[in-house]
C-alpha cells in the first residue's frame, strides 16, 4: 500500500474545504466545507495508523474527531438557525465584524 495516495487525497480535500469556506456565502455551505476539511484530517489519521506501526490511536482519534464534528455541527446549525430567525438570511457576508463608526 502506498500511503502517499490517501495522504494526497486528504491534502486535496483539505484544500477544497478551505476553498469552500472562503468561497461560499451560505452559512450551511460553509459548514459543509468545514466538514470536508475535518474529513481530510480523519483520512490522515486513519492512514497514519498504517504507517506508524503502533496501536491504533489514529483511528481512536478519528472516531473522536467524528463525534466532535457532529457535536459542533449540531450547535453550529442551531446558531445558524438562530441567525436566520432574526434576519431571514444565512449569508455570512451579511455578518459584519465591525460597523463603520457612528452606525450603531
Amino acid at each position: 500500500m502506498r500511503p502517499v495516495i490517501p495522504y494526497v487525497t486528504a491534502a486535496l480535500l483539505f484544500g477544497l474545504g478551505g476553498y469552500g469556506v472562503l468561497r461560499r456565502r451560505n452559512a450551511v455551505l460553509v459548514l459543509m466545507a468545514v466538514e470536508l476539511m475535518l474529513n481530510a484530517v480523519n483520512l490522515i489519521l486513519v492512514t497514519a495508523d498504517t504507517t506508524v506501526q503502533l496501536p491504533h490511536s489514529g483511528q481512536v482519534f478519528a472516531l473522536f474527531v467524528i463525534v466532535l464534528a457532529a457535536a459542533e455541527i449540531g450547535v453550529g446549525l442551531a446558531i445558524v438557525l438562530q441567525l436566520y430567525r432574526l434576519r431571514a438570511s444565512v449569508t455570512v457576508d451579511d455578518v459584519p465584524l465591525d460597523r463603520p463608526e457612528g452606525e450603531r
Binding site: 478551505g18 469556506v21 472562503l22 460553509v30 455570512v92 457576508d93 451579511d94 455578518v95 459584519p96 465584524l97 465591525d98 460597523r99 463603520p100
Partner: protein, 641 residues
C-alpha cells in the same frame, strides 16, 4: 579690626541694600507711607555709603602693606573657591573713591529724585528700591575691589551688572530706558562670557580661584594668553571698550546720579581695576597687552570724536568717559598700572563732578539737549564754576587733577614708544601715545564746546527759570570739586604714590606718578589748539554749534561711526532671526516628529480598524491565510536551514 572693616566695607552697603529692598516700593496713599519709606530709604542709603567711606578711609590709614585673609567657600571636586579679601593700596584707594562717589550720589539723589517743578503730579520716583539698588551697586563694586578670589570678584562684577540694569531702567517716564538697560546688561554679559571662561581657565590651571594662588601659579604661556584675552573681553564689556562700548551712551537713559555712579566709580572702573588687579599675569602675556593697546587707542579716539558731535549734554560726558577709559586701558597696555589707577581716581572725581553738575543743569532746565540751553552762567554761577573745574580736569588743564594723571599716562606711553619700556611691543606704545596726544586736542575741543554751549552765549529757552540747585544737590557737587581740582597734587606725596603701586609689580621700585619734563608742553599745546579752535568757532556765531565745522563728518560722529547699526546688523538681528528659525524648527521639526509619530500611530490604527470593518469571511480568510503564510514561511526556513 582690619578684617572687620574689610568685611564691613562691602557688607554694610549690602545690608543697607537688602533692607532697603524690603521697604514698600510705592505708596498706596500718597503723602503718608511715601514719606516714611522714603525717609527710611534715605537713611539706609546714606548710612551705608557713609559707613563704607569711613571704613575705606580707616583701612587706607591703617593698612600699609597688602593684607589677605580667606576661608573656603565651596569645594567643587578639588577646585577651591574662597571667600576672602585682599587689601592693598590700589584697592583701598579705589574703595575710598567708590565710597565717596557713592555717598555723593546718595545725597545728591535725595534732591534729584524729588518731584520737581516740571514733573507731572502722578510721578512717583519709587525712592526706596532706587536707593537700595545704589547701595547694592556700591556693595558689589566694593566686593570687586576688595575680593581676594576670582569667583567672588565675579560675583560683585555681575551683581554690578544687574544693578546697573535695574537703575538704568529706573526712570519709567522714558520709553527708551528699559531697552537701554537691557542693552547695558546684555552687552556686558557677552563680555562676561569671556571673563567667566578666562577665570575658569586660570582657576582650573591653578587649582584654586584665590587671586594669590592664581598669581603665584606658573601658568603655561598658551593658557595665560588665552585666559588674558578672554578676561579682556569681560573688561571691554564692563569698561565700555571698543567693540563692546555701545551700551554706555544709551545708559544715559538712567537718572543722572546713576550715570555719575556708573561712569565715575563703579562699572567702567571695575574693568580697569580688574586688569590692574591681575596685572602680573597680563605682563607675561604681551599678545594680550597688544590687543589691549589697540583696543585702547581705538576706544580713545572713537569716544573723543563721538563726543564732539553730541547735542545731549549727558551723551557728551558719556562719550568722554569712553575716551578717558581708553586712556586708562592704554596706560595698562604700555605697562603703567599705577598711572592707570591714578587717572582712574582723578577721572572718578571729575567725572562724578561733571555728571552731578550736569544733573543740576538738567534739573534746572528740564532738558538734556544743549541746543536748548545757553547763557546759564549768570543764573547758575556755582554750577558753572564747578563745571569749569570738571571740564578743565577732563581736558587736562593744569593744575587740575586730570592734567597730572593724564600726563602720567602719556609719559608712560611715550616711554614705551620711544624707549620700549613697556612689557608689550613698542608699536603699542606708539599707538597709545599718538592716539593719546590726538585725544588731548579733541577732548579740549569738545570740553570747550560743552562749556560754551551750555553756560555762555544767550539763553535759548526763555521760559525756563534756571537757578542754582538746592543745598542737597549743591553740596555734593561742591565737595566733589575739591578732589577734582586738587587730587593731582597728591601725586607729589610719596605716601600716595606708594599706595598706588600694584603689589606684585615686577619692578618693585617706587612709582613715579608725575613727570615734570619738557615734553609736558606737547599735550599743553594740543590742549590749547583744541580749546582755541572750539572757542574760535563759537566766537563766530555764539548761537550756532561749533560742531557745524565738522561738516559731513558730524552725523557720523554723532552716531559714533554707526557702530550701533553694525552691532544691530551683525549680532542682534541674526540672533533674533536664528531664534525664530530655531523656535520654528523646534516646534515643527522636533516636536513635529513627536506629534507626527503620534498621529501616524493613530492613523495606522485607523487603517487597520478599517481593514476590520468587513464581513465575517474576512476573519476566516485571515485565519486560513495566516496559517498558510506561517506554514510556508516555516517550511521555507526549514528547507533553508
Amino acid at each position: 579690626m582690619t578684617g572687620l572693616l574689610a568685611v564691613a566695607l562691602p557688607g554694610v552697603p549690602l545690608l543697607a541694600g537688602l533692607l532697603g529692598l524690603l521697604l514698600p516700593a510705592s505708596p498706596r496713599v500718597a503723602g503718608t507711607g511715601e514719606d516714611r519709606a522714603r525717609r527710611a530709604a534715605i537713611a539706609l542709603g546714606v548710612t551705608g555709603a557713609a559707613v563704607a567711606l569711613v571704613a575705606a578711609v580707616a583701612l587706607l590709614l591703617r593698612v600699609d602693606h597688602p593684607v589677605e585673609a580667606a576661608t573656603t567657600w565651596a569645594d567643587l571636586g578639588g577646585l577651591r573657591v574662597t571667600l576672602g579679601y585682599r587689601l592693598d593700596g590700589p584697592a583701598l584707594l579705589v574703595a575710598t573713591a567708590v565710597a565717596a562717589v557713592a555717598l555723593a550720589v546718595q545725597v545728591y539723589s535725595i534732591g534729584y529724585l524729588r518731584r520737581g517743578p516740571h514733573d507731572e503730579v502722578e510721578v512717583d520716583h519709587r525712592y526706596p528700591p532706587y536707593a537700595a539698588q545704589i547701595s547694592l551697586f556700591t556693595a558689589a563694586m566694593l566686593t570687586v575691589v576688595v575680593s581676594g578670589d576670582l569667583i567672588l570678584l565675579l560675583v560683585g562684577w555681575e551683581v554690578m551688572g544687574i544693578c546697573s540694569y535695574l537703575l538704568i531702567a529706573h526712570d519709567r517716564r522714558l520709553p527708551e530706558a528699559p531697552a537701554a538697560a537691557m542693552k547695558a546688561f546684555l552687552v556686558t554679559r557677552v563680555g562676561d562670557v569671556g571673563f567667566l571662561l578666562g577665570i575658569a581657565l586660570l582657576g582650573v590651571s591653578a587649582g584654586s580661584f584665590r587671586i594669590a594662588d592664581v598669581l603665584a601659579h606658573h601658568h603655561s604661556a598658551g593658557t595665560l594668553t588665552a585666559a588674558c584675552l578672554l578676561l579682556l573681553a569681560g573688561v571691554a564689556g564692563k569698561s565700555a571698550q571698543f567693540p563692546l562700548h555701545t551700551w554706555l551712551p544709551d545708559a544715559m537713559a538712567g537718572p543722572t546720579p546713576i550715570s555719575a555712579l556708573i561712569h565715575a566709580a563703579t562699572m567702567v572702573a571695575a574693568g580697569v581695576y580688574a586688569v590692574a588687579r591681575l596685572y602680573p599675569l597680563l605682563a607675561q602675556a604681551p599678545a594680550a597687552l597688544a590687543v589691549l593697546g589697540v583696543m585702547a587707542a581705538v576706544t580713545l579716539l572713537l569716544g573723543a570724536f563721538a563726543a564732539t558731535a553730541q547735542d545731549d549734554i549727558k551723551r557728551v560726558l558719556a562719550w568722554s568717559t569712553v575716551s578717558q577709559i581708553g586712556y586708562l586701558t592704554g596706560a595698562l597696555a604700555v605697562g603703567a598700572p599705577a598711572a592707570a589707577l591714578f587717572h582712574l581716581l582723578s577721572h572718578a572725581a571729575f567725572k562724578a563732578l561733571l555728571f552731578l553738575a550736569a544733573g543740576a543743569v538738567i534739573h534746572a532746565v528740564g532738558t538734556t539737549l544743549m541746543s536748548r540751553m545757553g547763557g546759564l552762567r549768570a543764573s547758575m554761577p556755582v554750577t558753572f564754576w564747578c563745571m569749569v573745574v570738571g571740564l578743565g580736569a577732563l581736558a587736562g588743564v593744569p593744575p587740575l587733577s586730570g592734567f597730572w594723571s593724564k600726563d602720567g599716562v602719556l609719559a608712560a606711553a611715550e616711554a614705551a614708544a620711544l624707549d620700549g619700556a613697556g612689557p608689550g611691543p613698542a608699536w603699542v606704545g606708539w599707538l597709545v601715545w599718538l592716539a593719546g596726544l590726538l585725544g588731548v586736542a579733541v577732548t579740549a575741543w569738545y570740553a570747550t564746546r560743552l562749556l560754551l554751549r551750555t553756560f555762555l552765549g544767550t539763553t535759548r529757552i526763555p521760559l525756563a527759570e534756571p537757578h542754582d540747585p538746592p543745598a542737597v544737590l549743591r553740596w555734593p557737587v561742591l565737595l566733589l570739586a575739591v578732589p577734582a581740582a586738587l587730587l593731582g597734587l597728591a601725586a607729589f606725596a610719596p605716601w600716595f604714590a606708594d599706595r598706588l603701586r600694584v603689589p606684585a609689580d615686577a619692578s618693585g621700585e617706587a612709582v613715579e606718578l608725575v613727570h615734570l619734563a619738557p615734553n609736558l608742553l606737547l599735550p599743553l599745546v594740543l590742549l590749547a589748539i583744541g580749546a582755541g579752535v572750539a572757542w574760535a568757532g563759537w566766537r563766530g556765531d555764539p548761537a550756532a554749534d561749533p560742531a557745524r565745522f565738522l561738516g559731513p563728518l558730524r552725523p557720523v560722529f554723532a552716531r559714533a561711526f554707526r557702530l550701533d547699526d553694525v552691532q544691530q546688523a551683525l549680532v542682534v538681528r541674526p540672533t533674533a532671526a536664528l531664534a525664530g528659525v530655531v523656535r520654528a524648527g523646534d516646534e515643527l521639526g522636533v516636536d513635529g516628529l513627536v506629534e507626527g509619530s503620534g498621529r501616524a500611530a493613530v492613523g495606522l490604527g485607523g487603517g487597520m480598524a478599517a481593514l476590520h470593518r468587513a464581513a465575517l469571511p474576512r476573519a476566516a480568510a485571515a485565519v486560513l491565510a495566516g496559517a498558510l503564510l506561517i506554514g510556508v514561511a516555516v517550511a521555507l526556513i526549514g528547507v533553508a536551514a
